[in-house]
Structures are given as structure tokens and as C-alpha cells.
């Protein structure tokens, strides 16, 4: 039973790795600016999911691992919460990362608009040729 759980978690990990590879390929080799931005968002979302995945906690003796939110406020519930809840730190860092990623995307989109109004195209091959 344990080995099946590990295998299922490994599938998640392997899919995340595949996602990394695909999005990196798209960032480097797709010629269109918007497609590069889309690939970048996929890349950052994969990284965020990966962080959440690292913070997961296995079930202990068939006790489901908990969300890092306390629902009861008595001393016993606090002790049990500390034993069973998943890691809240990656979630908090991901929250920060999403905002910063969003800021970067926002800036890139504005930059793309300027790029378009200069060159009348967003195709990177064209822009490279026009410059050189």
C-alpha cells in the first residue's frame, strides 16, 4: 500500500519535471513574444506547484494530514494540529512568488505593447532581423 502511494506521488513529481522541460523549450524556441510569456507563466506555475508538493505531509496512522488552518482553539487541538498539518511555509512563499510573478508578467506585457508599437510585430525572428 505504501509503495502505491509513493508511486502516485512520484507520478506528480515526474509530470512536474516534464512540465518544466516543455515550458523551458517553449521559452527558448517559440518565436512569438506572447507565446514566450505564456510559457513563462506555465514555468512559474509549475515551480509554485512544485513548492507546494515539497511541503506535503504523508498521513500518519490513517490520520489525514490537515490544512494549516486551526479550527478549534483549545490546547489539545493545537498540539494535534502541530502533529498533523502540512508545511505552511511553501504556501506562504508561493503566495509571495505569485505576486512577484504577476508583477513581472505585467511588466513584460507592457514591454510587449511598446515593442509592438515600435516594430509592428511581435515575432522575435522579425525583430532580430530588423535590428541587425
Amino acid at each position: 500500500m505504501e509503495i502505491i502511494n509513493t508511486y502516485l506521488l512520484s507520478v506528480v513529481l515526474a509530470s512536474l519535471l516534464a512540465n518544466f522541460v516543455i515550458s523551458l523549450y517553449a521559452i527558448f524556441f517559440k518565436p512569438h513574444y506572447i507565446k514566450k510569456i505564456i510559457a513563462l507563466t506555465i514555468f512559474s506555475d509549475t515551480a509554485n506547484t512544485f513548492a507546494i508538493f515539497i511541503g506535503y505531509r504523508r498521513w500518519i496512522n490513517q490520520n489525514p494530514s490537515k490544512v494549516p488552518v486551526l479550527t478549534d482553539l483549545n490546547p489539545r487541538a493545537v498540539e494535534e494540529f502541530a502533529k498533523l498539518a502540512v508545511d505552511p511555509l511553501p504556501q506562504a512563499l508561493v503566495l509571495t512568488a505569485i505576486v512577484i510573478g504577476l508583477a513581472v508578467i505585467l511588466f513584460l506585457v507592457f514591454l510587449g505593447w511598446i515593442l509592438y508599437s515600435h516594430y509592428k510585430t511581435l515575432d522575435m525572428r522579425e525583430i532580430r532581423r530588423l535590428r541587425g
Binding site: S10, S15, I100
Partner: protein, 262 residues
């Protein structure tokens, strides 16, 4: 042809997963969490044993975001603000907003449904932000939900409609700045108070620390507000909602102008 590629990809992933299961089991999540996480989970709401380190918030993520690692979040907020300012600087020639005749927008059906859902979006966003220290959510999430409304209005009605109703970028920047001002003030509030009282406290301090005994109020009229967390969530909601609205408005104005130039 596409199906073959997809099937090959799936088989590759499953094989890689098998490899990881057999060879690298130690990198998988285990039944224990890392030591800092153990401390955060134990200290997030613990007035019983860790009175001098607790945040008094049942929500561990918000406790980390706005207290244990509060300075990170402060700088993150400023990064977002800087990106916004950079975007506005790049598109500054658009900012002479002319309130023209609003465009056609989508059909009557979509407009009517949007009119009904508009207050609901705001209310749900406010609920997420105001319960950020009790349930999952917080200022950023609530603000993003509220920022859905200007986006929907831009798509369904038009950007001129939004500007004619008074939601100009300059007003949004004022709201955003007020939110950021509130965040900054909350961050140094306890420091200022203890300066007046003659005791000492740290910047960004929330609850009592072993060597600084002043504390923000934990309860207001019997309701748990977890000191600074409630104020941070509230101000962050305004700041984020206004910030996103600016971005949408400027982007759509850019598009409108481009159509005119053609």
C-alpha cells in the same frame, strides 16, 4: 500523430515515476515536516505554551506572510508597486484619458447578469480579506477577487464606461497609495506607540516578544483580530484591488488607442 506524442509522453512520465519510486524515495514528502515548519505550526496560535512567540492567528499561512516573514511581504508589495509604476511610465502618453462615448459592449443578457453579480463579487472579496486571519485567504486574495469586477466591466461594457463612472487611473493610484500608506503605518505603529510610552519595540512587531513587552490588541470587543494581521489584510485588499484595476484600465486603453491609429 498528436495522439502518439501524447501517449509517448505519458509512458515516459510513468516510467520516470517508477524510477523515482524505486531509486529516490527519500526525496518524496514524508510524515514529518521540516523543523522551521514545525515551529510555525506550533506557534501560530499558542497562548498556552508559547505566549512570547505566538502570533495568535489560527491561520498559519497568513501568520507567516504578515508576521514571521512580514518584511518579505512588505518588499514584495513594493515590487508589485514598482512594476505597476514602470508600466504606467512606459504607457504614459495614454494617461490623458478622454471620457468618450462608451462602446457597445456585449449583449443585453450579459450586461444584466453582470449588473446582478457586481455587488456579489465585491462582497465575496471583502469576506475573503476580512477573514484572512481566521480562514484561508487574506488581503491579496480578496483584493484579486475584487479586481475581477473592473475587468468584467471592461469586457462587458467598455473601458470608457468605467472611466465615465469615475474609476480613473489617477483615483485608483490614490486608493493604491492610501492602502500602501496604511500598510506602512501599521508596520511602525507599535514602534511609535512604545516610543511615546518610553518602552521599546521593534519595527513590524505584532505580539509581545521576550525583550519587548508591548503588543497590538489581540481582541477588539471580543472578536479575534490577531493584532496587525487584520489591518494588513484590510489595507492590502485596497492596494491590490486598485493596483490590478490600474493595470487592466491602462492595458485596455492601449488597445483602444491602437485600434484608432490603424
Amino acid at each position: 500523430m498528436k495522439t502518439v506524442e501524447v501517449v509517448v509522453l505519458i509512458i515516459l512520465i510513468l516510467a520516470l515515476a517508477l524510477l523515482i519510486t524505486v531509486g529516490f524515495e527519500h526525496i518524496m514528502p514524508s510524515t514529518a515536516v521540516r523543523p522551521p515548519a514545525e515551529f510555525y505550526l506550533y506557534a501560530t496560535y499558542n497562548p498556552y505554551k508559547l505566549r512570547e512567540y505566538t502570533v495568535m492567528s489560527p491561520e498559519a499561512v497568513t501568520a507567516i506572510v504578515w508576521d514571521f516573514r512580514g518584511l518579505d511581504t512588505l518588499f514584495e508589495t513594493s515590487v508589485f508597486y514598482l512594476a505597476l509604476i514602470a508600466g504606467l511610465a512606459l504607457t504614459r502618453r495614454l494617461l490623458s484619458e478622454r471620457a468618450e462615448k462608451p462602446g457597445h459592449g456585449l449583449s443585453l443578457i450579459v450586461k444584466t447578469v453582470t449588473r446582478i453579480t457586481a455587488p456579489m463579487i465585491i462582497v465575496v472579496g471583502a469576506s475573503i480579506a476580512l477573514h484572512g486571519h481566521l480562514t484561508p485567504g487574506g488581503g491579496f486574495q480578496g483584493g484579486s477577487v475584487i479586481a475581477v469586477l473592473p475587468m468584467v466591466i471592461i469586457v462587458v461594457f467598455s473601458v470608457s464606461f468605467l472611466i465615465m463612472r469615475g474609476f480613473t487611473t489617477s483615483k485608483m493610484i490614490i486608493m493604491r497609495s492610501l492602502g500602501l500608506f496604511g500598510i506602512g503605518l501599521t508596520a511602525i505603529a507599535l514602534f511609535l506607540v512604545s516610543l511615546i510610552q518610553g518602552t521599546h519595540a521593534y519595527v513590524f512587531q505584532n505580539m509581545i516578544k521576550p525583550d519587548a513587552q508591548t503588543s497590538m490588541p489581540i481582541y477588539i470587543a471580543g472578536a479575534l483580530i490577531s493584532g496587525t494581521l487584520w489591518f494588513f489584510n484590510l489595507f492590502e485588499m485596497f492596494a491590490v484591488a486598485a493596483g490590478f484595476s490600474i493595470a487592466f484600465i491602462v492595458l485596455m486603453l492601449a488597445r483602444t488607442l491602437q485600434v484608432e491609429e490603424r
